[in-house]
Symmetry: C4
Subunit: 210 residues, 4 copies
């Protein structure tokens, strides 16, 4: 029964985007937003990884599929569940907080593209190595590594691109008016590119791990 | 001998509510309170999990019982130990700090109910998956995942509902005058509802894991 | 050869007290000091646990000895190594920073005693359960749980007692003039009492684990 | 095929130095920089450890070689990959941020040398014990311990020496004008000395582990 996997992807992405919205709509979040967002991903990866793999991110699903660990029939339903989770989370945030008064960040296109490619590459590279490589199987650190990759990249690159590294997050922050609709393509292009690059790097680094 | 399990539940809830009280009664706690509270839960789950399961939360005990991993005879003694731990912790905080001058948060009922249901759902969903599922047995991350769920949800939702996600914490903050007695029912209703929903979700997602 | 164990206890306590001194002598440390101190303990427990048990704390050595997992011949050399590590760290801090201008906290004796007993109890209770209990053997979380117990208790109780929970730390902060010599007895009495209480609680909770 | 190991060392050092640059070039980073930098090292150690050992630091490579766990033929290529990763990261930071306006820290030579020796000793001591010792093999905490050693030492000693503890980081911050070229030798000398000392300590503490 595949529905249980899609529900897990929906729930995990819901909590990830809910945490993004609730912590970013907050004048002096400082250290809080990246830490809370990374932690939200970590807990959901630990909770749902044994059922769905715990992607919660279309760019990660792309990378895992290219690496050969996501059945082709699951790719589109996973993406659908993730985008749905992001949208429902965004509507929940608007319900709880009202329309935010945070002004969306102005992005410079080229640096934002570079930052989103780099951050998504890091995320998918870590996911593939800690959650799909044969030589790390059975470890207890996969969620910690994956969650803190998002926290680290948000600390490092959030000021340049907003730090989505995830098309479902990008869609969610656009629905919440935390990002401009005109910039959504930047995230979509850069995130999928970053995921694909990570899959290529993984295959080069782990040639025997098919 | 069941008394040792009840003592462990008492000790764990005591340290959780003690940390809540001591860090919230503090003008500029900022990032500190959610981090310290999540960490208090994490350490006590790691210390006591092997004896009692490490619930420290009546809503978690409800969820674990509905999922079939808490003997019925333990349910009421667990709740009693947890509420007792919360009350003794509250009295210890008052002893150490004097009556706090923090003004209890005003809650809007509907958003607070929604936030407490969502946060408690996340907590019980994570607990059931990382600490009771057959396919995650023997892992070393259960305490990290559980503790940081409370930290994450407190970061995300604390501003809406106060962020208890736990009837024993709700009772403790009421005794310490950090929450209004008139709002106690919000936590009790929402937390038990969130725990029950998580048990239902777990059973749908893990149908073969009885 | 026992010397290697004593050297490990010296090194671990040195880095713990060094981190205490360097982060507390800092006007706006905020969240930094408790987090850094807990992290210092965590890393040294992970690095040295396999050689010496990773106590770095005379009150923990007392508790582990009472629980029956520290050879009697090691107790005094462990305490000597720990106090020596604390003193050398304090002198290193004075070398690097000069005499600090931080004014030592004024303590009220009774609350400070209560806070130090509670915090040291938590630390030794966690140590005994995660690092010496038969049913948690082989786990990967022992250092995380132990280190973050000190961080949590420092967040919760540091404002009341200074948050040593460790006679070697107490001696170190006295040498660095971060605590008053007249208050040293408070830490010594309360920390050893907290450790002994934790050993009694552990034996009640784990009666079959001799 | 050794190239995959060198690529992993390049990628890991790139993300470490990228995070250093992006978080330090930021007026009020406060707790963020040390936490993000330690976390960057943690995630890359978890991602790449199974391929290259996850050094990302010439002083660590020296220590692991002296301890007998790095083939001699890999030493120079590892150092080359690490320095190259640091330089490319520095250029990426300059591309994303423009030339920083942060004024390089003035260092007092003797305290800076002491601080860098101490911090690098801690890092290499932790690496050797958690990632190469026979009695800790198969653990899940090695990345957590290694990453948080850098965070802890940066909290404790960053104010004295800048807190590189890594010649590739030192080169990177010099290229980014966050450190003075005239001070580069301090890091090189002290970091390699700290790594060598840690190897000696490890061999004394683990005499049977060849």
């Amino acid at each position: 029964m595949a529905a249980k996997k899609y529900l897990v992807e929906f729930i995990g992405t819901f909590f990830l985007v809910l945490t993004v919205g609730m912590t970013v709509i907050n004048p002096d979040s400082g250290v809080i937003a990246p830490l809370a967002i990374g932690s939200a991903l970590m807990i959901m990866v630990y909770a749902g990884g044994h059922v769905s793999g715990g992607h919660y991110n279309p760019a990660v699903t792309l990378a895992v599929w290219l690496r050969g660990r996501c059945p082709q029939a699951d790719v589109l339903p996973y993406l659908g569940s993730q985008f749905a989770g992001g949208i429902v989370a965004a509507m929940t945030v608007l319900l709880l907080k009202g329309d935010p008064t945070v002004v969306p960040q102005d992005l410079e296109i080229f640096p934002a593209l570079v930052a989103e490619v780099i951050g998504t590459f890091a995320l998918a590279y870590v996911v593939l190595n800690v959650a799909t490589a044969r030589s790390t199987a059975g470890n207890s650190y996969f969620g910690l590594a994956i969650g803190f990759t998002v926290a680290t990249m948000a600390f490092a690159l959030g000021g340049v691109s907003g730090g989505a590294f995830n098309p479902a997050v990008a869609l969610g922050i656009t629905v919440m008016h935390l990002a401009k609709t005109a910039n959504l393509w930047i995230y979509l292009v850069a995130n999928f590119a970053g995921g694909a690059l990570a899959a290529a790097a993984f295959r080069f680094i782990n040639p025997e791990d098919k």
